[in-house]
Structure formats: C-alpha cells, structure tokens
Symmetry: C2
Amino acid sequence: MHLDRAADMPLYQQVAAHLRARILDGALPAGSRLLGSREIARELGCSRAIVLTALELLYAEGYLVSVPRGGVKVAALARKAAPDAPSPAPGIEPARLSHRWRSVLAIDYAFDLASPFSTGTPDIADFPFDTWARLLRQAWRNAPRSACTDMSPLGWQPLREATAEFLGTVRGLLCRPEEVVITPASSGALDLCCRMLIDPGDEVWVEEPGFIEARWALQAAGARLVPVPVDGKGLVVAEGIRRAPRAKLAVVTPSHQFPLGVAMSLDRRLELLDWAQRQGSTVIEDDYNSEFRQRDSMAASLKSLDRAGHVVYLGTFSKVMLPSLRIGYLVASPAFIDVFGRGRARIDVHTAGTAQPALAEFLREGHLLRYLRRMRLVYAARKQAVLDAVQALLPGELDIVPSEAGLHVTGLFTPRLAARLTDTEASARSRAVSNFIQPLSQCFLGTPDRQGLVIGFGRLPVEDAHPRLAAVADALRATGSGQSGGPGAGAARRGR
Amino acid sequence: MHLDRAADMPLYQQVAAHLRARILDGALPAGSRLLGSREIARELGCSRAIVLTALELLYAEGYLVSVPRGGVKVAALARKAAPDAPSPAPGIEPARLSHRWRSVLAIDYAFDLASPFSTGTPDIADFPFDTWARLLRQAWRNAPRSACTDMSPLGWQPLREATAEFLGTVRGLLCRPEEVVITPASSGALDLCCRMLIDPGDEVWVEEPGFIEARWALQAAGARLVPVPVDGKGLVVAEGIRRAPRAKLAVVTPSHQFPLGVAMSLDRRLELLDWAQRQGSTVIEDDYNSEFRQRDSMAASLKSLDRAGHVVYLGTFSKVMLPSLRIGYLVASPAFIDVFGRGRARIDVHTAGTAQPALAEFLREGHLLRYLRRMRLVYAARKQAVLDAVQALLPGELDIVPSEAGLHVTGLFTPRLAARLTDTEASARSRAVSNFIQPLSQCFLGTPDRQGLVIGFGRLPVEDAHPRLAAVADALRATGSGQSGGPGAGAARRGR
C-alpha cells in the first residue's frame, strides 16, 4: 500500500480505506489477526498514531474485533460485501426511473444554445458586474440574522417589497409585497404551481403553438394537456371552453405569445378571466421577457385585470440580469400565497438565499431599471436588424408576426416558401450553416397548422444579422436538403 | 383622480390605470367619448404627453377605439369585467389544492425554531462573513461566462470538484467530481430523487422513528411509506424485507440515525446493500450533520461501501455554513447522475448559481475546513453541557442514546418517567417554560414504542444548558399538566 501525503484524504482514512477494502474483498479473511500497530506503521512509513486511529475507526465500524489477550482480528461479517461493479456501473436502469419522468424526459426538441439565433438568451456583456459584486459583498459582510437563518419560504421580505415596486414601475402591475413569492426563476415558479394545484389527469389548457418547456412541469405533475389554438388575437378562449370546459389551469403568455409574439386582445382577456371565475380555474400568466418591451404602450398584464384573484403571474430576474441567477417571482392572491409558501417550505425550505439581499438592493438603488433601459435600446436595434435582413433577404418567403417585446421574432412561411420545404428542413439547413434557427412546428403539441422560424436575437450583434441570415437564406434556397447551395446561386438571389 | 409623483409607477401608467378602472367598472360606459387630451392634462395637472401615452396604451389594449373625425371613445367590450373580489379575496379554496399536496401539508408536527433546543439549527455567530463576502465579490467582479449563462444542471464544475475533495477530507468518501450533483440543499436533493424515481404507490422504507421532513418529499411523490424499526444497531433490515421486500427505495441515516443518534452496524449495512442489489432498489443515505462528528473514528459512510452503485448519498453546505445558503449535493453512480441532471434541467434549469463560484473558492481555500474544526469544539462543549445537565437534573429519568455526531441528542424516558407522563406532555410543559423540546413520539409513523425528548444544542450556549434544562426538569416534575411548578418544588429537587 502506498500513502499519498499530497492527497486531501487524511492519512488515517487512507490506511482505514486500504484495510477495509482488503477485508471486504476477502484478502483479509474473517478471524485473521492483524499485525501490531507498530509493525503496520513501520511497513507504511507513517506514525503509529495514524495506524491506531485507523484501527480504532475500523473497530468502531465493526470490521475488527478485539481478541482476549490484546490485539485485533478481522470480524466475521454476516455476509460478503457486494462484488465490485462491472464496468460501466449499472447504476440506474431506465426501468427504475418513474413512469411520469420517463415521459417528461422523452419530450425532446431541437435547440442550440450556442446559436446566435437562440431564443430567450440575453446578452450579458454590458451587465454591471462591478455593482452586483459590490452589493453581494455589502449584503454578506454584515448580514442580518434574518438573511442567514430564518429566511421565509416566501422570500426575503425586502426583496418581496422591491419586486412589488419593480413590477409597478416596469409593468404597471400594482401589487403588494405580501402578494409576491420569490421563486427559483419562472420555471421553478411554474413547477411549484403545477405540483401544488394539479391532480393526475387534470386538464390544462396550453397554447398551440406554445412554450415547450412549460409542458415539462405540467406533465411532471400528471396534467392532461389540452392544446388551445392561438390566432391573431391570442388564445382562442371559446375553443378552449369547447375542448375542456372544466380545465383546472390555463397557462398563457398574453403580453406576447410564445412563440408567435401576438398580444392577447382585451376581449379575449376578459373572456378568459370570466371563464376562470365561473369554473374556479386558475390562469397562469407567464409574462416572460416583457421587460424588453419596445414601446411604452405595451398592453398591461392580464394580472392587472384580475380582480377576483384567479391569475398567478410569473416572471424572472434571471433573463433581465444573469441567466445563472435563477431568481424569479410569482404574484398571486393571498390564499394562493399561503399554500405556495407552505409548499415551498416542504420542498426545499426556501429559494436559495445568497442572491436575495443583494438583489433587493440592486432593485432599490435603481441599477436594474438603468440596465434595462440600456438593454431595451440594444435589443430594439437587434430586432430591427433582423427585420431588415429578413425583408431584404427573404422577401415574400417569411412573414414576420408583429410583436412588441421579447428577444425573438417569429417568421411564418409564405405559401411560396411552404411549397418548397418544411420548417423542420429549413431548421436543419440553418444548423448545417452553423446558424441554427428553431422550427415553429416543434412548438405544436398536435399537427402544426403553420410553418415558420422562431428567430432569437438576444445575443446577435447588429452587424451579424445580415450576413448570418444571408447564409441561412442561401441554405433555404439551395436545392437538395442539408446543402447550403453554391455561392453563385446565393449571390444571384441575394438582391431580391 | 390624484397623480402621485412620488410613486414608483410612471405617471402615464397611473393615468391609464385610472381610466382602465373606470371603463371596467362602468363609470365610463361603452361608446362614451373621452375629453380631449389637453383637457384631461389640464384637469390632472400633468403634461399632455403623459396623457397621450396613456391613451395610446389604452388604445393598444383595446379599451378605446378611434372615432371617424378624430378623438377616441370607449370600446364596446364583449363582456363585463369580473366584479371586484369580495373581501377577503376567495383566491384558492382548499378544494383546488391537489389531493396529494393536501396530504403533504397535513403532515404536521410540533417545533419551535426559536427554541434554544431546536434540532439541526447551527450557530452562525462565528461564521467568517468577511471572507464569504470577499469571495462573493471576487467571484462576480470578473465572472467567467460559464458562471453567468451556461451553468450545468449538475452544478458549476469547480464546485463539483471542490465538493468531491471536501467529502474525501471530511468524510473519507472517495468520489469523482462527475459523481457529484449540486442541489438546493439536501431537502432539494431528496425531493429530486423522489420525483424522478418514485411512481405513485411505490413502497419506500423509512426509519421508525425517523425524520419527519423526509416524509414530505416521499409523500409528495406518491410513495407508500413502510416504517422499518430502528434498534441499537440501526435499521432492522430483516424487518424491512419482511414488510416490503420489493420496496423501490430505502431512506436511511446510517451515520447517526435521526432522531435516535445510533450508528448502523456493519452487518446491517452489508445486509441493506445486499438487499438493494438483489432487488435493484435504491438506498438514499442522508448523512446529515456528520461533519459535526465528535471523534475521528466515526463510521465511514454507507456510500463508501457501495460498490454496485445503489446508494445515493445526500449532504448539504447550508447546515455547516449558513442555513439560508440552500446549497447541497448528492453523490451517485453515473447512470443516476445522467437522469438527475436531465431532471434538474427540466425543473428549474439548475440550482441557483450566485453562491456556487464563491462556495467553490471557500472550499478550495480551506475556509470551511477551518470553520468546521472550530465549530466541532464549540458543539462538543455544548453537547457535553447538555449531557452533564441531564445527568445532574434528570438522573434515572432520561437515558441519553450515545451518538457521535450531529447537533442533538435523544434522551429516552426511563420506566419511572414514562409512568408519570408522555413525551407529548413533557414537550408541552417544556414549551410552557419557553424551552420547547421536541417529543420523540412525533417522529413515529405508527404507534410510538418509546418515549423521549429530542434535544438540540446547536444554538445553546454552554452556560445556558444547566439553567434551561433545570427549568424543564422542574416543569416535568410539577404535578398537573402544563404547569411549571412552584419555585419551592423546583429548588428542592434541583440538587439531586
């Protein structure tokens, strides 16, 4: 045996581990007497104290028993240790994963986070890291006890207050701090809602097309998904009522529907709230990326219309700050808050606390508002660059759906383009030229009734929009699938 | 209407909110014509630009429509807005909470986090806040992109590495960074395991008596709990096999059983692993608070005996650092890691990222080891103070179960004390004298076969142990329930 003095494991642990392994694999059989501690120490070249500690440990663990006139021998173990695992370790077989999670993990879709056209990925290059780092230090140097040990499952109180203020300023959403719960971003908030509200088999309206990732939480909770079509005025509520009048939940993106980008009309909003109130159903409003609105006149949130307390509003700070932050919030009426708080307490006590006090200050000192104002201009320019490039490069082929917020636009295939290829083929071609763009059809639960491309621009520099979309446009025009087309073909068409 | 210039909500939003409310409540009926923007501005005492922005917003939202020769009128809404909520808001009725979560929230037990005898609550007075604050600042001033946007669902790689090293040093647990997943503390880790592995109705062994909070995650996943008794050698594996031979999971605390404090014997450990391997079952080892061991010779973890990859090992940094941190880990074989990573990604993308890079440095620079070494001495002294006080104040009444780690001890009622009162009564009396101690019986799923008190000492100063336990001892000796006994009776008995 060789002792590794540079290793992190203490020497007595190394000695014990060595002896333990030899006992378990039978090299030191039951009843065999160990050498004296002095001899072992000499053999290993370590102090006797180390060996004694190791032997004491093995004795305490039951590997060794003392013999009448001093010394120790190997204990008779009731059974042999498990054999070494074959390689690779079997670990969990698929059959041991729960059925429900097998179905959740089976929901797959094409994406490429590294693509400049990835949706929902913000740019972090201009984030005020210095300020954020300073506030973190400030928060933890002299942390109050309330930030260290007794944080509420509902979130740190000053952050709940700052969030309520932030929502008033940025979204015109009037809410009280008591109506705010701090969550592990909006996916964690949606997961909490689904777990606490859904019984297996409960029907839930989801937008068609819609946000694939929302389906994970819903399916993990055992929901039966009811796709409800989206038209130019948003969710077709009447169709939802026809398909599943008693649905327990409706999950919607009224400000700018994902992926289409349309805003839900006022009539549809009132119709949806009316249905929820009549049925006692709950509407989950995912107000994703609405902070990145392009005009002040973006429609108010659904939640601000909700007088009877049927809407749970979700949002996140991760997207407007740093994706790894994983801090978001939900806004709901008091009875919801009570059960969400008790639920959070029983899942993981409360949302991670390290960022919460610093984030409260970041909001209170106005840093997020300033950063947002700057980034809105950045994203507006990027969006315009995408619109211009599509207009120039794919005229009569891609119809951009107008939208007022967010970090993506969706272009619907015109009949001319749709006659030539599917959006899945188009997406594959964009991937082949290293500019992956998501196909709209994968956002459908049922058969897609539209073809299109969902074009993110959060991390797309303005000057890249034209050349990258030109490469995609060339690839779409090439004959044969997966090919990017010769330079001649591309050049000939680029001027149109 | 009164505009509040000090409010966070922009003025145009205030104007819009006011008009919106009047339209919805019928004060401005459909078809009515609004005053011109100049007149409204004059009436409100604000600029016309603000009114125009508000009107543009309401127009975009569909509250207003334009009239042929200029100006706007109130739109005809398809339906009336929901009436104002009655007070208090109905929000969620209990019936709308899922059945499973209703049962989870119904699991109740007596505790008092503010009590000096609260179990599992560490002392944070000596935590190196300055160092922690400095490392947080350092981590975020010049954060690498990998810490900001693309953090793995398995955790930040340097933290996985530092955790693997830490476990080698502190627990003699040899594992590779690839076998570590960073989780929202150990409750979040247990929740993840339960969600991903358990199908409704699956049997799970739980220790009897055991950790109440583990039942939450299990029941939330739909498990059928099978209580398996614990004796002086830990879990009675043979009894588990008799009661539920095909259980999917066993959740155990082998190092120092909660609440009894006993360590599982080697024979029982091998028996448990042998069963798990034969059945293809999974053993979850919750190695809570074993960092606070009192001797080097504390038994190795069950995981270190696990060659076939059936054990998932759970631990947390929250208890050894700051409870609000909510960062822990699980250690498991590669096939588990794969599904846990995919599951985490679909629940909340990854465990909150703000603390992870700083924590990696905190471990790497040895701050946690140094802090732990200091706190071990602090807690050892507190434990001894409790043992001495119990010995002096409740001789022949409370038998302390020997244990080697953790932040609590359990005292079993002797027949003499048990003849006089139940532990629930005893606990109520301790609460009445403001020194709440948990009753052992509430840790049983079935009928308790032992009575006792679970005495935490994490936040109990050494000098408080005797006077506070004296108050409890007096209360236990008083005749009649809930009374603390006259001073005379207390004084007369205190010397025993």
